[in-house]
């Protein structure tokens, strides 16, 4: 355990923990777009910047991304000093210039008082902030169907060779966790299309409700040793099945005792 000072408060943290995890646990509102607890920190959006100093630094301070900075004893952290807020405003200003139509960025920028960008807006851009959260989550889940391709201005998130990815199973975790809701998927009756690949959705044999994709179910039963029969019916029908089978036992016992 290490103890550090955050905004004048002494806080305990585990060894080797990242600063942002401690801030989140202490319910200190530090904005972050590329952070997700399931994956390793990346430091792409730079919004979680904080001011750090130490008693022995004699008034000098440093500005670090808290998601990538491990805690150490005697650290003095300020999450909302004037300089930090100014840094965040600059980052949000640049985000607004690059993604003028993104509601998520506009909302966050509004919280910090940036309503209009002071830079020239980029025409013909998209809402992807290139934080790599989708690719990191895809890697973490073990599919690695998408990655960032190209460099500089041409950098973007895409499947290999910009074709329908063979490794994708259509779990939609990339789209669900995209901070700017840029990754789109089309959900039609019994099919879902993501990354220009169409997947068939499993339907409940009892009520017809769609669940996960067929490919994802196959992956889970093959690699995680889950009975393929589990995926045949939806969660609601399975609850009903459980109630009926338990009811049979209770009813049998009740009849026996009366």
């Amino acid at each position: 355990m290490v103890s550090l000072t955050i905004n004048g408060r002494i806080v305990k943290a585990k060894d080797g923990e990242m600063l942002l995890a401690v801030l989140r646990r202490e319910k200190i509102d530090v904005p972050a777009m590329c952070h997700h607890a399931a994956v390793e920190p990346f430091g792409a959006c730079r919004l979680c910047v904080v001011e750090i100093t130490r008693a022995e630094w004699k008034g000098w301070c440093d500005y670090v991304t808290s998601c990538l900075y491990p805690v150490s004893p005697g650290l003095i952290v300020n999450t909302h000093s004037d300089k930090v807020n100014e840094l965040r405003r600059t980052i949000l200003d640049l985000f607004l210039a690059r993604h003028p139509d993104c509601p998520e960025i506009a909302e966050l920028a509004g919280e910090y008082g940036v309503f209009k960008t002071t830079y020239e807006t980029v025409v013909g851009g998209n809402n992807c902030i290139l934080c790599g959260l989708c690719t990191r989550i895809c890697d973490r889940m073990g599919f690695t169907a998408i990655s960032t391709v190209g460099r500089g201005h041409g950098k973007e998130v895409a499947p290999p060779l910009r074709q329908a990815p063979p490794d994708c199973v259509g779990c939609l975790a990339c789209a669900e966790n995209c901070p700017t809701k840029f990754i789109e998927y089309k959900l039609r009756k019994k099919r879902v299309t993501i990354w220009e690949r169409e997947f068939e959705l499993l339907t409940c044999t009892k009520c017809g409700k769609t669940t996960i994709t067929k490919d994802f179910a196959e992956y889970l039963s093959r690699h995680r040793a889950i009975d393929a029969g589990y995926f045949e019916i939806c969660d609601e029908c399975r609850r009903k099945n459980l109630a009926v089978s338990m009811g049979e036992i209770v009813n049998w016992e009740r009849e026996l005792l009366t």
Partner: protein, 145 residues
């Protein structure tokens, strides 16, 4: 002292108080959440079964989770879902053979019973003691009739 959560379906009257207690206990941002316990009709007369997570030993939800968001809590013995880690891939919702890992549509979250962190609200509100939270010494395993 260790406690055990007991469900006695023959005492359940289907009043759904547990559902209400659960939703208010698991409120998100001041709005009530989805209930983790479902008293369901069985098709038999005057017989309801409160369907709730069984905290299986070899749980399909834990096996299906590709990001290790579902873990057994050593203190309470329940399988807890870490909401921060969950990526909402719906694998556990599809994999649970009893349908007790479910999606909260309103908040777009995957939810499951965590026994309220070791003091289930449903047991306190159950008027007929169909749901009980009692010390492990007082729980008698039912003998075969």
């Amino acid at each position: 002292m260790s406690y055990r959560f007991t469900v006695s379906p023959h005492l359940c009257t289907g009043c759904r108080t547990c559902e209400l207690a659960c939703s208010f206990m698991h409120a998100v941002e001041g709005k009530r959440g989805a209930t983790r316990i479902h008293p369901l009709e069985t098709g038999f007369k005057e017989l309801w079964v409160p369907v709730v997570c069984l905290q299986c030993d070899d749980a399909a939800c834990v096996k299906s989770c590709l990001v290790d968001a579902l873990k057994r809590n050593p203190e309470t013995g329940t399988i807890d879902l870490d909401r921060e880690v969950c990526v909402r891939c719906m694998a556990c919702v599809a994999a649970c053979p009893f349908g007790c890992s479910l999606l909260d549509d309103q908040h777009n979250l995957v939810v499951k019973c965590d026994l309220c962190g070791g003091d289930p609200a449903c047991a306190h509100f159950c008027p007929t003691h169909a749901l009980e939270w009692k010390p492990i010494e007082t729980v008698k395993r039912k003998q075969a009739v």
